[in-house]
Amino acid sequence: MAEDLNWAIGGEAGDGIDSTGKIFAQALSRAGRHVFTSKDFASRIRGGYTAYKIRTAVDDVQSVVDRLDILVALTQRTIDENLDELHEGSAIIYDGERSWEAEIPDEMTAVDVPLKSLAEDAGGAIMRNVVALGAACEITGFDVEYLDESLEKRFGGKGSKIVENNKQAARLGQEYVQENYDLDHLGYDLETTDEDYVLLNGNEAIGMGAIAAGCRFYAGYPITPATSIMEYLTGRIEDYGGHVVQAEDELSAINMALGAARGGARSMTATSGAGIDLMTETFGLVATSETPLVIADVQRSGPSTGMPTKQEQGDLNMALYGGHGEVPRFVVAPTSITECFWKTIEAFNLAEKYQTPVFLVSDLAMSVTEQTFPPEAFDMDEVEIDRGKLVDEDEVDEWLDAQGRFRAHAVTDDGVSPRAIPGATDGAHMSTGLEHDELGRRTEDEDERVQQVDKRNRKVETAKEQESWEYREFGNSDADNLVISWGSNEGALVEALDYLEEDDIDVRVLSVPYIFPRPDLSDEIEAADETIVVECNATGQFADVIEHDVLTRVKRINKYTGVRFKADELAEEITQKLTEEVPA
């Protein structure tokens, strides 16, 4: 493994932790280094511990680890909370002039920097975090000039004076460490490259994917951690003739999105936890009215309000089975930030090709994690749009009955009916949540009921044949040990392979981005001696469906502490699990 650096800043919510972390992450990215960030935050606006962590290396980094090398501690709690991740070689930057007396373990390097005074020298106490960034640069030997661009990006809108003051603050921090400590960069040599990276999180990738896919309407209700999708789209979707509505509640949001889709727009809503519960009422309507709709669920810890700012993958059953009656649907779960982009585009295509709800299931860890990528990872020339059987005025004629009525719910071999949108001459028709005939009119006729249910379910069968429902594979494809994962666990698993390799443990990893339909893993599981399913929930919801598919018991690694998997932790868990008996 190449040399990597784990850096964090922590303090109270409202201390500017997030923006400071982002400035440093961007500087590292601009220096051609890979960055992976994670956030630890409480469900409150001010006060309460919050931290922004960065892992950076020249090689790709896809996970957090249980190690912290440089910590900027604005409070004692920051040190206490991270004690188990700090090690002998860690350096802690703090402000000794502050009212608290930092308790720093003897074996660590204490770097006392008068953050506030130096910030005041540069023009204002508010810049104390930037002073700390300058100090961090000096400690690690990272050129402070890389901060300049980030500072311009962050503060450019506030005028050149503010930008200059911040640059100065960073330099004062750097110089202070230079003059008062003899650290020799603690042995770090933060290599830079000429690579141009972009730095973004999963929710930004979903929003960007939506615009690329031609989404023009979004309705949502603010909820952590889905809100940033709405925030991304607001202010950007308008440039493409679209609009975002902040609805009065989730029931309204999904129904507005459904209305826009009936109007012919590519339309979407996103929510989390409690919000998806409220939307459930409308799932069946979307399916029976055969409306193309993308519904994103950025999962957080449940049940009920659970832990709103913590990680979990507990909504899989809700996405698979939510809604009364039997609701045909697709469930797509991106496994990485780039996949958040590509699977969003795919979700819109699936929704329109099969005129059915598509659940895009992400999770908190992915939504708040920022990661570096080459811009080509989001190559817009690769974006394909498939609007399915959207019929224009000429094609409508083919689907009229003897009385000239449009058969919007025509029973077809592939289960997909023609779709006419308002304005198409002779396409006028009603769709309803009631069981209906081909014209969309209510029926309780036994044959028609069965025909329509079969027709709608046939879409899924058609899609199973026509689309590729693949998994991504990592590790040794001949290994006897098989690990299966979904959602954001992929990155940590990929890195865990390196640790396992050091212990001569061979593992084949399958990362599955499709929950329904999903790839048939029977052969893979049969070929393996051991199968372990990794997921962030207590009961193993994905393991359950896999056991159901292959009729074989699998081992499970479940984490439901509210914190995402870490690479080194996962390697240990896998090692341990391999020696355990399979449950009866």
């Binding site: 972009v198 309407f217 003739g241 509505v245 009065e248 309204s252 826009a260």
Partner: protein
């Protein structure tokens, strides 16, 4: 839009299953005539309905339509209108659908001033579930679930609309065909949220708020010389607890509909074959 549209073009060939004599027949006929008179045709009209007797309207009318879930017709209408400012949107509901389960949506659709027409068939009873109290039932109205009456004042939907910042508030009577049609027509022509509460008697379960009752008591605001652009006068009429009125109570002269306020002018159904031409700029933003 064709100029030779007749109101019967908005009629489907499905026979209504409403009870003989139901007020909803007259309410729907007026809606169809108003749509035709305002130059709309079935292919550029979208009708949204919720659940209940009123919800059946999408089946009996011919246009683009969605029959949705209980109480959520207004959000659906909002979505259609935002995606398609070029389409005429009409939302139909009942007093249970609109003022009970959908009351929250009503307040917000009103205050957004979405350019659509909302027709509520108010019969002051739950008909399709066979006679329970509705939000507009009188406080002493005896029903199967309220044997001694609801013992709570009815919702005043007009006041609720006024308090929510409505730009158009009207009330009509299903049996006064011409006036009902004129009022709905005015609501369609209004730039913004055109709200019409229609007295639509339930002949099966409500023996209090009957055709005769409304014929005897209804006061026509036009005959009274009411000026709907006068907010204070509107307030007085709407909060009058003694009389039942028909007519346009309030009409904001400079109403700007939601989509115009938000600069939405394009038909959102048309999108490029691939990502937008300048889409790489979205990526570069993250440098």
């Amino acid at each position: 839009m064709s100029s030779d549209v007749r109101f019967t073009d908005f009629k489907s060939d499905k026979q209504p299953t409403w009870c003989p004599g139901c007020g909803d027949f007259g309410t729907m006929n007026g809606m169809m005539k108003a749509l035709a008179n305002t130059g709309n045709d079935p292919d550029n009209t979208f009708v949204v309905a919720g659940i209940g007797c009123s919800g059946k309207i999408g089946t009996y009318m011919h246009s683009y339509a969605l029959h949705g879930v209980h109480g959520r017709a207004l959000p659906v209408g909002t979505g259609v209108k935002m995606a398609r400012p070029d389409i005429e949107v009409m939302v139909a509901g009942g007093d249970g659908d609109g003022y009970s389960i959908g009351a929250g949506h009503f307040v917000h659709a009103v205050r957004r001033n979405v350019d659509m027409t909302y027709v509520v068939m108010d019969n002051r009873i739950y008909g399709l579930t066979k006679g329970q109290a509705s939000p507009t039932s009188r406080s002493d109205f005896e029903t199967s679930t309220t044997p001694e009456g609801p013992k709570q004042p009815p919702v005043n939907p007009l006041a609720l609309a006024l308090a929510s910042g409505a730009s158009f508030i009207a009330q009509s009577f299903a049996s006064d065909a011409l006036r009902h049609q004129e009022i709905v027509q005015e609501a369609i022509e209004h730039d913004g949220f055109g709200f019409v509460n229609v007295f639509s008697p339930c002949v099966t379960f409500n023996d209090v708020d009957t055709y005769d009752y409304f014929r005897d008591t209804l006061v026509d605001l036009e005959e009274e010389g009411h000026d709907p652009t006068d907010y204070e006068a509107a307030k007085e009429v709407i909060l009058d607890g003694e009389k039942e009125f028909q007519g346009v109570m309030y009409k904001e002269e400079n109403s700007v509909p939601y989509h115009e306020q938000h600069g939405v002018t394009e038909n959102m159904s048309e999108i490029p074959d691939g990502a937008p031409d300048d889409a790489m700029d979205l990526v570069r933003e993250f440098y």
